[in-house]
């Protein structure tokens, strides 16, 4: 057991060190979503969607979705290193070491999730500029959700990257599969304004609950008001299930392929 955690901690530490030593990665995951948020948000000005309060502007509306985008970019891109590690030969030496596969999964996912969490946290520092005043309670909820999404999305990246041999292939999957998940998460438009078929897709999208949860934490007058769909409890529960699901699947996938 001690060895499992020692190995996981070591793999986790490696992820963090590698990330910090590549400034392009630190900036690459953070700046594009911020620019996207800033330009689109400023361009549209007043929000066409009145979800919480009539004076809400679109920058405010986009804020939770942008956080999700930062997490998505950081966590998913951190798992590309699995493909590179396999090519470089680094992964071979980890696979034939006496550690259980679960410590590879644990170290790698927690490593990526840590990076995603802190990148998103950096962006969250802009919240006061948007007149988002977080109570301790709502900050706690936001951070909890952030942790769950970071682990869940890194897990998803792990499942894809572990089975792939080329980074180009990974990028295609990212565009084909992961970006639509973000588009449909309620990051750009709310559930209520979508047509019925789109709404169905959005309800099935696990990221919808992450964005909705963050939105509630940031803007709702009352965290547990009964009127909102999805409710905060449902958001937390869904995000937790998503996180558990991708983690378990990562373990299974990792055991299958060398």
């Amino acid at each position: 057991m001690k060895n499992l955690f020692l190995a996981s901690a070591s793999l986790w530490e490696r992820e963090v060190i590698r990330f910090l030593r590549q400034p392009s990665r630190v900036i690459g995951a953070l700046v594009p979503p911020i620019l996207f948020w800033f330009f689109i948000g400023s361009g549209l000005g007043k929000s066409p969607f009145q979800t919480f309060s009539p004076e809400e502007n679109y920058m405010q509306y986009l804020f939770p979705g942008t956080i999700l985008m930062i997490v998505l970019f950081t966590s998913i891109f951190s798992t590309i290193s699995i493909i590179e590690d396999r090519k470089d030969g680094f992964l071979q030496s980890v696979i034939i070491s006496p550690i259980p596969r679960s410590s590879i999964v644990l170290g790698k996912i927690l490593g990526g999730a840590t990076l995603a969490f802190f990148e998103a946290l950096t962006f969250l520092l802009l919240a006061p500029l948007l007149k988002i005043h977080l109570s301790w309670n709502s900050l706690f909820i936001a951070l909890l959700l952030l942790s769950l999404i970071s682990i869940g999305l890194t897990g998803m990246g792990f499942i894809l990257a572990w089975q792939m041999d080329s980074t180009q292939g990974f990028h295609s999957v990212m565009n084909l599969f992961l970006m639509p998940l973000w588009f449909l998460s309620g990051a750009l438009f709310p559930l209520e304004s979508a047509s019925p078929w789109l709404r169905l897709l959005m309800i099935l999208d696990p990221l919808t609950y992450s964005v909705a949860g963050l939105r509630t934490a940031f803007y709702s007058q009352s965290l547990y008001s009964s009127g909102n769909f999805p409710s905060l409890t449902l958001c937390l529960f869904s995000s937790f299930i998503f996180c558990l699901f991708t983690f378990t699947l990562s373990l299974l996938v990792c055991k299958r392929k060398t």
Binding site: K2, R18, G89, S93
Partner: protein
């Protein structure tokens, strides 16, 4: 130290009529030796290496290392073997010391014990002054040295190496063999794959693999003795007709290596070579006489040349 019995391997996605990557290979590796797995590309040596390192499960057969079945006691075996792959398995963004520390953690080492072990290895490998430099700033030879230290972090008594001198310049190759000899002196058994004859010569014992089969097993000198006498190689424009003429006139057994090359194994080759030149002088482009080399051993055992891709 290692017992390999009736080992076979077929790649999972290979069609059923495709040859096996390894076919019924059996041999033992004695303690405290440098054991070479020699073979041309595609001969099966890397497949065997991957099975020994527990990376692949064999289709059939068994392997014991330190008396442990490596597939039933995989975790225990993994703790005791050091593995060095063809391409350095280092993280280029980390320093020498960080790479070694990380590897130590994978093998359950930590704290003072690990620090002391790393210090000792860095001293032995002559890398103490480069300890804090990132791998990407080191030369290929130095990276290889770090890779070996990495494989030695848990002080294994068996070191498995795939093409240990891959990508190294001649000076770095010589230095690497010096390291291997030192390791052997300190009691480590080394098994390495190679497709280079000059490297194979340096091994205490060789297993020659061709098309997945074990074709020879002995020390390099004994293998060469098996041929006996000298080796004559003739280059000619039409090797097939010359082969027939040699058979008629001298009752000579020759081997046709390709359309232009004949291979003859014969005692007192000097006498024969003079006669050959006198009789077939015009047909011969070049003729050479030599003591048997490992290449000749390979030809003797398989009937064809040892094809190697240049590095």
């Amino acid at each position: 130290m290692i017992r390999i019995q009736s080992l076979s391997y077929q790649y999972p996605h290979a069609s059923s009529n495709k040859k096996m990557a390894l076919e019924n290979v059996s041999f033992n590796v004695e303690k405290n030796t440098i054991f070479g797995l020699l073979g041309p590309n595609g001969g099966g040596k890397t497949t065997l290496f991957k099975i020994l390192t527990t990376f692949f499960l064999p289709t059939s057969g068994s392997v014991e290392i330190f008396g442990l079945d490596i597939f039933k006691k995989m975790s225990e075996v993994r703790k005791k073997i050091g593995v060095i792959f063809q391409n350095p398995s280092l993280d280029k963004k980390l320093s020498v010391k960080e790479n070694l520390t990380h590897q130590g953690h994978l093998y359950g080492l930590s704290g003072l014990e690990l620090k002391e072990r790393i210090l000792l290895l860095l001293l032995q490998g002559g890398l103490l002054e480069r300890a804090n430099e990132r791998i990407e700033t080191l030369s290929g030879g130095m990276q290889r040295r770090v890779d070996i230290l990495k494989g030695m972090i848990h002080n294994p008594s068996l070191l498995l190496m795939d093409e240990p001198t891959f990508g190294l310049d001649p000076a770095a190759r010589i230095a690497l063999w010096e390291i291997l000899k030192k390791l052997k002196q300190n009691g480590t058994t080394i098994v390495c794959t190679t497709h280079l004859m000059e490297e194979a010569e340096k091994c205490d014992c060789l297993a020659i693999l061709n098309e997945g089969k074990l074709v020879a097993l002995n020390s390099p000198s004994n293998l060469k003795k098996e041929i006996g006498g000298d080796v004559i190689a003739i280059e000619t424009n039409n090797a097939t007709s010359l082969k027939e003429e040699l058979k008629k006139k001298f009752n000579l057994q020759t081997m046709l290596l390709d359309e232009q090359t004949l291979h003859i194994e014969k005692e007192k080759g000097v006498e024969l070579i003079t006669e050959l030149i006198q009789t077939f002088g015009e047909k011969i482009i070049s003729i050479s006489l030599s003591k048997p080399s490992l290449e000749d051993v390979f030809i003797h055992k398989t009937g064809h040349k040892f094809h190697t891709n240049s590095r």
